[in-house]
Subunit: 221 residues, 2 copies
Amino acid sequence: MNRLYHVPLSPFCRKVRLTLAEKRIEVELVEERYWEPSPDFLRRNPAGKVPVLRMESKVLSESQAICEYIEDTVPQPQLMPRDPDGRFEVRRLCAWFDDKFHEEVTSKLLYERVNKKLMAQGYPDSKNVKFGSQRIKYHLDYMAWLLDQRRWLAGDVMTLADFTAAAHLSCLDYISDVDWNRHAVVKDWYAKIKSRPSFRPLLVDQVPGFPPPAHYADLDF
Amino acid sequence: MNRLYHVPLSPFCRKVRLTLAEKRIEVELVEERYWEPSPDFLRRNPAGKVPVLRMESKVLSESQAICEYIEDTVPQPQLMPRDPDGRFEVRRLCAWFDDKFHEEVTSKLLYERVNKKLMAQGYPDSKNVKFGSQRIKYHLDYMAWLLDQRRWLAGDVMTLADFTAAAHLSCLDYISDVDWNRHAVVKDWYAKIKSRPSFRPLLVDQVPGFPPPAHYADLDF
């Protein structure tokens, strides 16, 4: 059985979960408190991070490398275009969300509000939370600008870029940090992703001590 | 003419410069003080980062996405294996260096010692420098462990993983922060990369106020 070592509110784990589910690859989820790494876990991934995917005899780490590996080995349904320009745009946007959005928003809101408490590292730094709350507006505006010109983030078909963005936003939505009223076009895009069967398992995630708001799992939010 | 907006001591820019040079794609280099972004620069890349590559009518950003695009469009000489397992390992190691090594070492040594001064952001934080100096040992050990089993970092052929690692290490070598005597196998690997024609332009880079040590450009270091 394939096995994914993960934490529920990690955008990188969610990106891999969504990719696996879209490709209909079954996987057993194992929660891994990576901030208290066991020797076994570090043997699987010396980087000491999640996600780690055990698939047949392979142990895979790094979410973008995992998703591209899945795309290379299970090409259908297609989550990456086949032409170089299309592939570039998907990869550029994956990096946008996993690097820039992560640095400016996810780490400033989710990690301050949730991860710090889970890891017993104290209270949220209000300077960071304020910064993240400002920056998410800029990112939602950028998404709206893209979605005004395209059906999906990277072009006219749904790709890994959409799942990468949705992985981050869904974690922030779990803590009510996304203003869905800012842009109708972004809300419509998220509603389409959220109603996919691959998304359902994410909507029942529960983190002890952090109950999700009612709208989190509501498809008509 | 293709044009690369860059700064000399950025590992992400160096990775793209090496890839372009290996593929024999000519490019004009334009230094970009991205921390004082001009409206023109932000129009090219709203992320406000370097490298940005203008190639024919396209404007490309995000170093890994750029390098994969170049590989997709100019396949020879090959810097990525063609099989999924090989591609995975290259991408995993690129992420290892661009994320983990960057976070633990490059940002703690290079950015503290050089970028802070260039950006007039004060003095190096000795806590960070100490942390980076400790962590680089771990990373050199990891590289030695890989190179004990393989000719190159990702396997038996030279790939983008080697150029990614060398891009980071070359920046740190510019400020004498790499102990090449720690592992002969790592030094031998770097000597092979350093002697490639693609590497030559990096060895004549000069950052005002930071003269490189004599061994930096020496192929017999």
